[in-house]
């Protein structure tokens, strides 16, 4: 029905240029010698409805039974653009650690598109960095720890309220971002399967002592700046971000009050992406001089190198390696990968993707996405986690799940 409505909207454009075709059922039955008609600009309202069920494979219990709707409204007038995106969800899987209903204004911003300077004010998602999956400088938006898995190689992030200025010059692009109240952090509820083990232990201990452990955010400003030079065969840039860690790292006891707080860190980054033939190579190097590690504060270094390429007709392969180490010698090595290929006239996409790191950490995902019609998409996936206790992925050891989702685009 949705497809028919869309066709009904678009077909007049296709057909009205061909008088012979009016009234015909066959949209291809028109006068090829007639000219086409001009399209009309307008406000744009769009969105989708989705049902998604996730079954925990370890317990056989529902992790989520979600009905989700998202609406987007965009209006452009001259150089100005207004964009609003809101969502509502109802999760039928009864869980004590979260509300069954969530209504959120996900993005809301006003954008000015100038000749040399663009300005954005409002709530927006901003992606920085050249690496895929894991970037060392994609810090403008906080990880949504309530449900942190975007897919097996990428974290889910929340839009931030910000002021952004982008200036295009002859020597490159300067991008300044200021978040007056910091990033919008959300932590998982007590007892959530996505709650890290150490956070759960602190919360449980506080409960047993009858203490109140607050995890509210600092709401202190954050910000960063980057410079990017786009050119023939090579993009390179430098970036700096002064903000807080994604998760809480400090346990502060102030009399009867206990707080878990993120800590302020500064990250310097250089990055590059280079294309040659059918391949692209990406790399990032980051330095954080004041990172709160397990053995105290010290310098943290990170690098990511990646490569992706299309083989045969449409077989896409993406591989990244990363290393993260502290000045005291602690290091994490790992990587991310993705392999996808479309089948059946590109209606069905099958793929594997994931990440690994030392400590036996692994997140692995197999997925199928079927484009049933233009408006209806079916997706199935299974995701598996492994890792030592206390490692980021090891905390999700019991969260293996199978998922099926149906989305109707409007």
């Amino acid at each position: 029905m949705i497809v028919r409505r869309r066709l009904a909207r678009l077909l007049p454009t296709l057909l009205c240029c061909a008088p012979a075709a009016f009234g015909a059922d066959d949209p291809f039955d028109f006068d090829l010698s007639a000219a086409a008609e001009r399209a009309q600009a307008k406000w744009r309202l769009s969105g989708f409805l989705e049902t998604r069920s996730r079954l925990l494979l370890t317990e056989g219990d529902w992790l989520s039974n979600r009905a989700f709707g998202q609406a987007e409204l965009m209006h452009t007038r001259g150089p100005w653009r207004l964009f609003l995106m809101g969502s509502a969800e109802q999760d039928g899987a009864k869980r004590h650690y979260r509300d069954a209903t969530r209504i959120e204004l996900r993005e809301a911003y006003l954008h000015y598109d100038g000749a040399a300077v663009d300005v954005t004010v409002g709530k927006q998602r901003v992606g920085w960095g050249t690496a895929d999956g894991l970037s060392t400088i994609d810090r403008v938006n906080a990880i949504d720890y309530r449900e942190p898995i975007g897919n097996a190689r990428t974290a889910a992030r929340r839009p931030s309220s910000l002021v952004r200025v982008e200036a295009t010059t002859d020597v490159g692009v300067f991008d300044l971002v200021w978040l007056p109240r910091g990033r919008d952090r959300k932590l998982p509820g007590f007892g959530s399967p996505w709650e890290p083990a150490d956070l759960h232990a602190l919360r449980r201990d506080a409960r047993e002592r009858g203490a109140t452990l607050r995890t509210d955010d600092t709401e202190t400003h954050e910000g960063g700046v980057r410079y990017v030079r786009y050119g023939r065969g090579l993009d390179w840039g430098v970036a700096y971000f002064d903000g807080y860690t994604d998760g809480p790292t400090t346990h502060r006891v102030e009399g009867p009050r206990e707080r878990l707080l993120p800590e302020r860190i500064r990250t310097w980054n250089v990055n590059a992406a280079m294309g040659f033939g059918q391949s692209t190579v990406r790399g990032e190097l980051a330095w954080t001089p004041d990172y709160p590690g397990a053995a105290g504060y010290g310098e943290r270094w990170q690098y990511v190198v990646g490569w992706d390429r299309v083989f045969l007709t449409n077989l896409y392969v993406n591989l990244q390696l990363f290393r993260e180490w502290m000045s005291d010698g602690d290091a994490v090595d790992g990587g991310t990968f993705a392999i996808t290929n479309p089948f059946f006239d590109d209606a069905l996409t099958a793929g594997l993707r994931g990440q690994w790191a030392n400590g036996e950490q692994l997140a692995f995902e197999a997925f199928l996405e079927l484009q049933w019609t233009d408006a209806v998409q079916l997706a199935m996936r299974a995701m598996f986690f492994d890792g030592d206790t206390g490692t980021p992925l090891g905390d999700y050891l019991d969260n293996d799940f199978a998922e099926i989702a149906v989305r109707w685009s409007l």
Binding site: P27, F28, R125, G275, N314, Y316
Partner: protein, 266 residues
């Protein structure tokens, strides 16, 4: 869908150049070679820049799919920059591709993709030229701007098609390019006055007809002959795709900034 598109987009707006324009006049007395005819098609677009909206209707048995794109291009000598924004279907809406294409054979094109959900600009590389363009009957190479010398061109005959004088030429990929193509040869019916291909047939290595393209809706827009409708049929599969261009405009004085990475926004 997004990933598939990223593999397949060294092209699209090239359709603007390969399939559409053509102001030059044919000289009846002139005996042209196949290559000269191909060169005239290549040189036909005299615009400095332009924009258009493309709508594709894909028919596969009982299923119909709709695609809509907004496209812009600007020329820099023999090089060109193009920006494509996807409007339909919904799952790729606002995804954009910026490509800087170079005439020099040894210079790879530069391409960037914009993912609206992440508000992220990402460099990509060409590939998947044999693959389908947005699940249509067009392959990416069909709408890619081919350099004249990517093929060897042979004039077969002069003829008429739908009342128009045409040159019929056959174009075979040179050995270095043959591996990247679905086709062993293409046969083109080229309008002898407007230098537009009115029909193209695509053949495989066994000389079997794979696909047939017809284009029409030809009108003179801003002084440039432009085809506004293209039908691509795949007889063996029983499918066909109609691509229609609307809002076609040339020589708008588009700013350079419209083809920079900062232009990639929702």
């Amino acid at each position: 869908m997004t990933l598939r598109l990223s593999m397949l987009v060294p092209c699209v707006l090239a359709a603007v150049c390969v399939l559409l324009p053509a102001p030059a006049q044919a000289d009846d007395a002139e005996q042209l070679t196949g290559r000269e005819i191909a060169q005239r098609m290549r040189d036909a677009d005299t615009s400095a820049d332009g924009e258009r909206v493309a709508t594709m209707l894909i028919e596969r048995g009982s299923q119909q799919l709709v695609r809509e794109l907004a496209m812009r291009h600007k020329k820099y000598g023999h090089d060109e920059r193009t920006l494509i924004r996807f409007i339909e279907p919904a799952d790729v809406r606002d995804t954009q591709y910026l490509s800087w294409t170079y005439e020099a054979v040894d210079q790879d094109d530069d391409m960037w993709v914009f993912f609206p959900t992440e508000n992220l600009v990402r460099r990509i590389s060409g590939g998947g030229k044999k693959g389908s363009f947005m699940r249509s009957d067009f392959a990416n190479e069909d709408i890619e701007q081919r350099a004249v010398d990517d093929d060897e061109h042979t004039l077969l005959e002069t003829s008429t098609l739908d009342g128009r004088d045409v040159y019929v030429i056959e174009s075979q990929p040179i050995p270095a390019k043959a591996r990247d193509s679905n086709y062993a040869k293409r046969r083109l019916w080229v309008d002898a006055e407007r230098w537009l291909p009115l029909r193209i047939e695509y053949y495989d290595r066994r000389d079997r007809l794979l696909k047939r393209m017809s284009q029409g809706g030809i009108e003179e827009i801003d002084g440039i002959w432009t085809a506004t409708k293209i039908i691509m049929e795949t007889p063996r599969r029983g499918s066909r795709t109609l691509m229609q261009y609307t809002d076609v405009r040339y020589d708008l004085g588009l700013p350079d900034g419209a083809f920079e990475q900062t232009a990639l926004k929702r």
